[in-house]
Symmetry: C2
Subunit: 228 residues, 2 copies
């Protein structure tokens, strides 16, 4: 790194702006969706983009991402991880901006996205049908979806997308929607049960038909393991 011995030069130098952009995923009405905001001013006015903002001087990147998440959705303590840093010199024509992208999983309740005065609009869009986004955000979207899908196979991250109690069928549906393919019911059940991720409850979900066993996650912390 050795930035200390460049003090004389860097004092004069103008630095890029550092922003954090958050790709927030949720699952509603049978589709995986991400939160987009409509830009008010500037060259990209009217275009949709991922919510984000500049990193404050005294705040870490992770803290900035959490703040962004909290400001937009009012939720906290969710699964949030750094995705990638996008740093093309021309990605924001109005000013050199390096963007550290994060992604998070939001449970389907508690979704009253908060439109501040910074943006013209805010809404959830299905990931498989995104509009043309501002900046390089379509590339960010693609990257985020890939990471989410591959991470599903080796980490228990979906706890953040489900309510406290759920059935195996509901859990399987989450996997199928995210992966965008069908899974075998029996094999899925066997794997997920034997993984030890789930704790059976003493309750059942009663619906139109045969009641289903309810489960909860034994761990609501991110951990590595073979899920699928």
């Amino acid at each position: 790194m050795g930035r200390a011995n460049e003090g004389q030069r860097s004092a004069k130098q103008i630095h890029p702006r550092v922003a954090v952009d958050a790709v927030l995923f949720t699952l509603t009405q049978g589709a995986l969706r991400t939160l987009l905001v409509k830009i008010k001013k500037g060259g990209f006015a009217g275009r949709w983009a991922f919510p984000g903002g500049l990193v404050q001087l005294d705040e870490s990147l992770d803290a900035a991402a959490q703040r962004e998440l909290y400001e937009k959705t009012g939720v906290q303590d969710l699964y949030l991880e750094q995705l990638y840093t996008f740093g093309s010199a021309t990605r924001d024509p109005s000013a050199r901006t390096v963007s550290v992208a994060y992604f998070a999983l939001i449970p389907p309740h508690a979704q009253t996205p908060h439109l501040g005065e910074k943006y013209a609009d805010i809404a959830w869009f299905p990931v498989h049908d995104l509009p043309e986004l501002a900046y390089d955000h379509n590339a960010i979207a693609e990257y985020a979806l890939q990471r989410l899908q591959s991470k599903l196979g080796y980490a228990n991250i979906v706890y953040s997308l489900l309510p406290q109690e759920f059935t195996v069928a509901e859990l399987q549906r989450v996997y199928e929607i995210i992966l965008d393919r069908q899974l075998d019911r029996r094999n899925f059940r066997r794997k997920i049960i034997s993984s030890g991720l789930l704790k059976p409850l003493l309750k059942t979900r009663r619906g139109a038909h045969r009641p289903a066993q309810l489960y909860t996650f034994s761990q609501r912390q991110p951990m590595q393991l073979d899920v699928l």
Copy 2:
């Protein structure tokens, strides 16, 4: 992102510095090593760190990393990928600095690391025996080694660490050193041959004993696949 509509505020705001740090791996004398530089001035004077520098306003992050790599080692067109972005507010006490870490694999020849006047010293250190580094660079080192090891299993990245021609035994040795564990000779050979990564040459390596078939990589581009 929506930085365009913050122009008025950000013009006044001072931004963090954005640096690129490069974890360069090579394989010499039977050990995996990384290149460190000794810092000349400032609070971390005398301590070792990964080489790095500030990102210029008109250059992308990738370009900055390549420049850093080229300045230090004189090599180009190697495997280079972004690792993670470290952004604690206090990681550099002298000035708020966000560091985008990269890692690269350097072939064992062409190693005359170039000591500019920026640093007091430059040298290769075995990764399993690193000194206490400046900033949060020990964390970067750990992260980089982990990524390298796990990536070995599903991508053909070692082409960047081997000469043009090599034997299966030599390739296996590379894997063993990086993974820090022994691999079964027959299983390794079967997997690596059937992966299609290698192209047998019409030559053999003649040494003290039975000549060994020489191979070359059929692809010297990064690609995803099951290697181990």
